[in-house]
Amino acid sequence: MSRLGAALVRAAALLLVLLLALPLAALLVHGGPAALAGGLASPLVRAALAVSLGTSLVSLALVLLLGTPLAWLLAKRRAGAPGAVETLVQLPIVLPPSLAGLALLLAFGRRGLFGALLSHAGISLAFTPAAVVLAQLFVASPFYVQVAESAFRAVDPRLMDLSRTLGCSPARAFFRVALPLSSRALLGGAALAWARALGEFGATLLFAGNLPGATQTLPLAIYAALESDVNAAAALGVLLLAIALGLLWLARRSAAQLFARGRREESEAMR
């Protein structure tokens, strides 16, 4: 490649890096330690933090509880073209969150398709933290299921067969072999899903509304604070950024381990 070409490649790369870095740097400048301390002292921020942590942890538990079996079933079917369920599971990743919020309203809103059914069962989701959880579940669970499915696929079926011949029940084989082998990847998928749930904004605003202490999560509080105090919004932003960085680190660490294992197995197979 010519010297000019190499320079162009570097310039393009640098431009994108700057575009990604500068907004976050500005956030840190506005939401410095003083603003962060001031923000954390405000009851609204604490309420939003509590709502965010509470709802996203419940979402995370549901993601793990419901997503793991789904990922296992998806991994067990033969590799090939993605089926309807795979597409369904991947769709929320590419859908705009406002569309997710609208769809949730039309399905589970009080006048939604299943609204009457829910109210017969005595369940009213409107403007409750449960609606926040549902919105988070809708947008976040695909991230976990995707990662978990590929992790389960990477489990050597011979190991599962072997454990069965040693007298393990299928459930025991899953819990003693497949789950431990995939645990790091599952952790990474869970971190991604949790980060996505924490960051949920559009679907929450549409489906769950915005009430401090009940449905106002951190991203909604940022949106609200922006209209009265930009620095407070930035402080909230720094808080979310710190949490996101931690979760990203967790996701990456497990991804690195997964890849390392994949490579090791590959090289063993080559030998």
Partner: protein, 274 residues
């Protein structure tokens, strides 16, 4: 084969990117086509306007364009959100707020000229169409599950708080009961209308013009005259307006008899109306 496929894809991606770039540049391209150099007054007027002004101002924009040939581009959102955007350097020619406070604040900050009161609105109570919960008065709201109002920074939300205070002065204790029924504080008045129209909320507090604009989905519950709050809409030219001549022209049109008639046909009251 592999290479041609790659090239085809590349060409397709390039075509996509190019058409996007051209879309973005379309207004400029048109100005050049219309004759060079583009006359300054042909530049569109950019108006940041409160959500409640959506229908009224859209109609005004069409009439203004028909009259002058100048396009009007609107950015509708909650007044407080528009104010934040302007404070953060957004470029616009005019700011139309659903209250005086946000326009006055921008003037104080040196970003807007003196605001003009161009219309009044009335605060009202809306329920899903047909009034399934048989709401007849403000006091009836205390027995509902979900009352939705604007956020505190949203003019309609601030007015709703005023209404609660006013009601409380007549029926002590009502304010606390009403506040306890508030299920959500929405980012602009039209989101309040949407929640009621969808039936998610049992009632909402909005402007009369919003109720009329969505009359096919929501019903208005008239408030007694002593609880009818008047809300002033204000418009101000922006100090850093890229098209200050256009801003002045549209502002004059809003205040002209023709502009006023157009707004009043949609339920707005004349400025200073009782």
């Amino acid at each position: 084969m592999c290479q041609t496929l790659g090239r085809k894809r590349l060409a397709h991606a390039f075509a996509c990117a190019l058409s996007l770039a051209l879309l973005g540049a379309a207004p400029r391209a048109r100005a050049i086509d219309a004759g060079t150099p583009a006359p300054v007054e042909r530049k569109p007027v950019v108006v940041f306007a409160a959500s409640s002004l959506r229908e009224g101002f859209t109609a005004l924009g069409h009439s203004f364009t028909a009259l002058t040939g100048v396009d009007v581009q609107f950015n509708f959102a909650g007044s407080q959100e528009l104010r934040t955007q302007l404070e953060q350097g957004a470029q616009a020619d005019l700011f139309a707020s659903a209250d005086l406070a946000h326009a006055a604040a921008l003037q104080q900050e040196g970003l807007a000229r003196a605001p003009e009161n161009f219309a009044r609105n009335a605060l009202t109570l809306i329920v899903p169409r047909g009034n399934p919960e048989h709401v007849r008065s403000l006091a009836d709201l205390a027995r509902l599950d979900h009352l939705v109002i604007g956020a505190h920074e949203v003019p309609a939300g601030a007015y709703a708080e005023q209404l609660f205070a006013l009601a409380d002065s007549r029926a002590p204790g009502l304010r606390a009961k009403l506040e306890a029924r508030v299920s959500s504080r929405e980012p602009n008045v039209r989101q309040v209308v949407a929640k009621v129209a969808l039936g998610e909320a049992d009632a909402g507090i909005v402007y009369r013009t919003d109720a009329r604009a969505m009359a096919d989905r929501v019903s208005e519950v008239p408030l007694p005259p002593e609880l009818e709050l008047r809300c002033d809409d204000a418009i101000a030219a922006l100090v850093h307006a890229p098209n200050s001549a256009g801003a002045a022209a549209f502002l004059a049109f809003v205040l002209s008899p023709a502009g006023q008639a157009e707004l009043q046909a949609r339920g707005f009251l004349a400025p200073g109306a009782p």
